[in-house]
């Protein structure tokens, strides 16, 4: 049996071992790779970056722990962007399982910013710079009710404060004060945001989706119902890159933890490995076929 024949009949366990290494090593020791943002991500970033200063960014944490690795970095990147550019932020969740994730995200990012803050101005303060409304139900009442008065929908926030008493809520009455709502979800909740908040009130909607469900959202993106979209780990990595560039532009020196970008090295390595497998397989196939002829 020739070399190529042997190669084709190689024990599969070698292939499994290579794939395991190719996924694991870059996860533990990520290599530097600079994502270049695609138009849907750039549009979302630019919209948030250039919206009027008095408008807030609302993030709807609509994902659950099982898809957290893919979507959580998007939430973190949005928060980094908003706080670096001094935007007010409102957080909520329409999935009760997302409640803890929203809290974890806001806690992580505020701790990062406050650790580097030197003045009161630089600090991120709950109730002044952001509000976490938490979870309530039913969805339609929330999506429509927020158009009239947010404090009616959420009389108390996640931490139990009366929302009426929070300074941030003085300038965050309803959709008129919201620049964009970004719904990050593995389900079809972003479509509900389009159907109610966008269609009935004209609020711009952005979307963060898993790579699998992103294909279903392109029609909404093309029609302009979504202002922009982050699709899968790659979308998160691209947004992280744009935020990192923004940090440089603003002269913010501290290093960001970029989980989406870190995972990209693993994904890139796995894709390249599979492509190499296909190339080797095909070379072997053609060599053997020629010999047979």
């Amino acid at each position: 049996m020739g070399f190529w024949n042997k190669l084709l009949k190689i024990d599969r366990r070698w292939i499994y071992t290579i794939i395991w290494l190719v996924v694991m090593i870059p996860l533990l020791f990520p290599f530097k790779i600079k994502p270049m943002a695609m138009p849907p991500v750039t549009r979302l970033f630019n919209y948030i970056d250039t919206m009027p200063e008095d408008k807030a960014l609302v993030i709807s944490v609509d994902y659950t722990p099982d898809i957290q690795p893919e979507l959580h970095p998007m939430c973190i990147a949005l928060l980094h962007h908003a706080f670096a550019t001094k935007r007010k932020v409102g957080l909520l969740t329409l999935q009760v399982m997302g409640l803890g994730l929203g809290e974890a995200a806001i806690r992580q990012v505020t701790e990062e910013f406050n650790a580097h803050a030197t003045t009161h101005e630089d600090s991120i303060i709950n109730g002044e710079d952001y509000v976490y409304w938490g979870w309530t139900t039913p969805i339609i009442t929330i999506l429509l009710g927020m158009g009239e008065r947010i404090t009616n929908v959420y009389p108390v926030d996640y931490y139990g404060h009366r929302t009426e008493s929070l300074p941030i809520m003085k300038h965050l009455k309803n959709y008129d004060d919201i620049g964009i709502v970004v719904s990050i979800a593995g389900s079809s909740i972003p479509i509900s945001w389009v159907n109610f908040a966008n269609t009935q009130f004209g609020v711009p909607i952005g979307c963060g989706a898993t790579a699998v469900s992103a294909a279903d959202y392109y029609p909404y993106l093309n029609s302009g119902q979504f202002t922009g979209m982050m699709a899968g780990m790659k979308g998160a990595a691209e947004y992280e890159q744009l935020v990192a560039d923004k940090f440089d532009e603003l002269g913010i020196k501290w290093e960001l933890r970029r989980k989406g970008t870190e995972a990209m090295s693993s994904q890139t390595a796995a894709h390249i490995a599979i492509m190499i497998f296909i190339i080797i397989g095909n070379i072997a196939y053609f060599v053997i076929r020629r010999r047979k002829k």
Partner: protein
């Protein structure tokens, strides 16, 4: 009679199902919903008993005949009995306890705990195997055998490169092209297949309702 009766039931219920699709009146709708929900649920409950009977019998035969790997059949049967006992008498979680205690000290084994600590990790492990199988399938079977296979291979390369930052670094418009492949030719092909599936499923339903297709009765007439 043994053949005619099932065919009659299928004809009547099949036509009723089609009629219920266009008549929204509550009289029709309530019968339709009863059929779909209650009757189906009762049938499922009975067939589940048959199903469990089947798996028990399958493993008992293996044990009796000492078939290859027969000791594993004991594991299957014991797991079945234990999880059934916990599910029936032990309660779902600490909030809704049953008559059997489901914890020893700090170690609990109620249904939710079994699900979280056994079912989910095992299912995730099986799902994760996909990554390995994708690689081995790509190596073993993804060949440029003919024109179609070559086109498929090229499309796969573009998509895989387009999905990682490297693609844009190498060739700038590559991710856009990958997206175009996904949204245009891919959707077009999918729609073509969907049309065929739609018509095929109506035709199959029709053949069964009219009693032309009797394969499900063991074939023949």
């Amino acid at each position: 009679m043994k053949r005619r009766l099932p065919l009659m039931i299928v004809l009547v219920l099949g036509i009723f199902g089609a009629v219920a699709f266009v008549i929204p009146h509550p009289i029709v709708k309530s019968i339709d919903e009863t059929m779909r929900n209650d009757v189906l649920r009762i049938i499922t409950a009975f067939s589940l008993v048959l199903g469990v009977g089947s798996i028990i019998q399958h493993h008992l035969i293996k044990i009796r005949r000492k078939a290859e790997h027969w000791p594993f059949s004991y594991i299957a049967l014991i797991s079945l009995a234990v999880s059934a006992a916990i599910g029936l008498f032990g309660g779902i979680d600490p909030a809704s306890p049953g008559i059997l205690p489901t914890h020893i000290g700090g170690f609990s084994f109620h249904m939710q705990a079994l699900y979280d600590n056994i079912m989910i990790p095992l299912a995730s492990t099986m799902f994760a195997l996909l990554a390995f199988f994708m690689a081995s399938a790509a190596y073993r079977a993804f060949r440029a055998r003919n024109l179609e296979a070559t086109l498929l291979l090229i499309a796969a390369f573009i998509l895989m490169l387009g999905a990682v930052p490297l693609g844009r670094m190498l060739i700038r418009p590559l991710p856009d092209f990958a997206e175009w492949i996904l949204t245009v030719p891919n959707t077009a092909a999918k729609r073509g297949i969907m049309f065929g599936i739609g018509l095929g499923s109506i035709a199959t339903s029709l053949k069964i309702i009219l009693g032309i297709e009797r394969g499900w009765l063991g074939g023949g007439g």
